[in-house]
């Protein structure tokens, strides 16, 4: 759709923004990525709040969202089946769910844009309604003790997002005045969005849609033919 000229022009804006952010934060910027008119910046966790304040000073007035991500590979058989041959739907033993019963080891972490060294990352997006440009900020969190500063002082909209991330991922936001459950009942145990939290429905029954996807080309020959 957009010509090559306009794509490079938008990427130039991202580059200038990244330069500006790097001069403000110095060595706290540890990784960055520019793709299709969007910018990702990874900052050191101790500079998380400082990054928000710098962005606010740069005119990022709109708080888009804040959330977390767990880079541990899936424990259910979603991406692994793709590599193997199509399973036979009649042969129960060949179903992928039977094979993948392994202990959750944190191996093979495949980090996303702007890199990452740890299992957990916190990410947030800010936008400028005047310059019409957005930035996604990321920071690494400790595997055992995920803890980072709260953004509430810079962007009050982070309040609910941090509460949600706290209960879903178990990240501790220091400086948040009211870190209580937002969605889950108070006595809930565990952190549901972590990859090692089992989705019981899928543990009991293998994902039916996946089998359909693999089975479809082999058996379906089109209307009236098969």
């Amino acid at each position: 759709m957009s010509s090559a000229d306009s794509t490079t022009a938008t990427d130039d804006r991202q580059k200038a923004l990244l330069e500006d952010l790097t001069t403000r934060l110095g060595a706290a910027v540890v990784g960055s990525h520019i793709r299709s008119g969007d910018l990702w910046v990874r900052v050191r966790p101790d500079a998380w709040l400082r990054a928000a304040e710098a962005c606010k000073a740069m005119g990022f007035d709109y708080f888009c969202y804040l959330s977390g991500i767990d880079w541990m590979p899936h424990t259910w058989p979603n991406p692994k089946v793709i590599e193997g041959p199509a399973p036979d739907p009649d042969d129960e033993a060949a179903l992928p769910a039977e094979e993948v019963v392994e202990e959750p080891v944190i191996e093979g972490i495949q980090s996303g844009y702007a890199g990452g060294d740890t299992r957990f990352q916190v990410l947030a997006r800010l936008y400028s309604t005047i310059r019409h440009i957005g930035v996604t900020l990321k920071a690494d969190l400790d595997d055992l003790n995920p803890r980072i500063e709260s953004w509430i002082t810079a962007y009050p909209g982070a309040d609910w997002c941090e509460r949600e991330t706290w209960e879903m991922y178990g990240f501790d936001f220091t400086g948040h005045p009211n870190l209580t459950h937002l969605y889950l009942p108070g006595e809930f145990e565990g952190f549901p969005m972590r990859k090692d939290f089992p989705l019981l429905a899928r543990e009991v029954k293998p994902w039916p849609g996946l089998v359909d996807v693999e089975q479809f080309p082999a058996t379906y020959k089109g209307d009236g033919e098969g």
């Binding site: 793709r35 969007d38 969202y65 899936h74 991406p79 962007y155 009050p156 969605y183 989705l199």
Partner: protein, 389 residues
């Protein structure tokens, strides 16, 4: 008899306790529990308000009664299957939920739908906006004690729902958008019917403008109630008509690069400087009318050609991260999709508009009077599925 230190301390402590009791009695605070099933909440949202007389001292919002864990569920679905789920986020404009997710997947796969598909997408996007907001502009009346508008709303929304149903097969959940295009082309005779329905919707907007906007009671109850300054709204993440009613001239349909057909149309972004409940109502009413005009233009300019790009039958999305957002009826809706080369998303963060629009209520309700709680809540306009996801 000499007074011991022990007695002196206990005397001081009892005096202090009395003083504290007196202070508490004087304020006469009480707790008002609104919901979880109040009609103003469009679902199950609970508001616990501490009242001092008629004034709200502190309001806590309790949500999660309808939390369905979509972000977790997307991780065990394939990409084409996710649209079925996300239809149910904002159920009044389901098609609009599908579009940004599909755009994110298309961005990662580096494919683009053909122009006709983009135009039909835009068409259904605007139709779902009309279906959504017509209900709001009627419903706002019923929250304030005017019963008639809501009947008009349900009557005229039906035309739009019938149109969506006849083209997609789904009345509320079309599940019509596909990676690389759309499911079907438009049925025969649909364009003429749509033009007729748009004329009716414009008539409905005129009707409500006369019925409510000039109404003294309506104005008295909405003007100056729940004022949101632009900078506060933005820092809370308010988007859509809620922030345009605070004078922020920002609409992602115009301001964000998008493959959809908005930039080909001639239309206007409506803003209002006041930031109060009336402004929010007014902006939404104008937007509905603008959307009907956009639909007319889309029908006139609909390009011919294929509706589906070439896509492999088993859709594997290359590894990467993509953020796609659109201006949905309720505000900015976006999906942050992380793929690791699998059949399904590795992580899908759903940024829904109502979640952020409602997160301002504890700030906004501070100091307002009890009847205004309802006005403010209904003027912010949220769908519970869009908060709880």
């Amino acid at each position: 008899m000499a007074v011991t230190d022990q007695q002196r301390i206990s005397y001081i402590a009892s005096q202090a306790a009395d003083a504290r009791l007196n202070v508490e009695l004087q304020t006469e605070e009480m707790t008002l529990n609104l919901g979880p099933q109040h009609p103003a909440t469009h679902g199950t949202l609970r508001i616990v308000a501490r009242l001092d007389g008629e004034q709200v001292v502190k309001a806590d919002v309790v949500c999660g009664y309808m939390h369905r864990g979509y972000e977790k569920l997307t991780e065990v679905r394939t990409f084409p299957q996710v649209t079925t789920l996300i239809n149910r986020i904002d159920w009044l404009s389901s098609f609009a939920n599908e579009v940004p997710f599909i755009l994110a997947a298309e961005d990662l796969m580096e494919i683009e739908a053909p122009p006709r598909a983009q135009w039909i997408r835009t068409l259904f996007f605007e139709l779902s906006r009309i279906a959504n907001i017509t209900l709001f502009i009627g419903e706002m009346g019923v929250q304030l004690g005017a019963i008639t508008p809501v009947f008009f709303a349900f009557r005229d929304r039906e035309y739009v729902l019938n149109l969506i149903e006849s083209a997609t097969g789904g009345r509320f959940h079309p599940n019509f958008d596909r990676i690389g295009g759309i499911k079907d082309d438009l049925p025969k005779g649909w364009i003429a019917e749509t033009k007729d329905a748009m004329r009716r919707i414009r008539g409905y907007c005129d009707e409500l403008e006369q019925l409510l906007m000039g109404n003294e009671i309506f104005e008295a109850r909405t003007r100056g109630v729940g004022v949101i300054p632009a900078d506060v709204g933005l820092s809370y993440g308010l988007s859509g008509a809620n922030i345009r009613a605070s004078g922020v001239d920002w609409d992602l349909r115009r301001d964000a690069p998008s493959p959809l057909a908005w930039k080909e149309l001639d239309w206007k972004v409506w803003t209002h400087p006041d930031g109060d409940s009336f402004a929010r109502y007014w902006v939404r009413l104008q937007e509905t009318r603008e959307a009907t005009l956009m639909v007319d233009q889309l029908l006139d300019g609909l390009p011919s050609g294929p509706i589906q790009a070439k896509v492999p039958r088993i859709i594997k999305v290359p590894a990467g991260e993509a953020w796609a957002h659109t201006e949905n009826p309720l505000g900015e809706m976006g999906y942050y999709v992380v793929s690791q080369g699998g059949l399904g998303p590795f992580r899908c963060k759903i940024r829904s508009a109502s979640f952020h629009n409602v997160s301002i209520t504890p700030w906004l309700l501070k100091g307002v009077y009890v009847p205004d709680i309802i006005t403010i809540l209904s003027s912010l306009y949220f769908i519970l599925g869009d908060i709880d996801r």
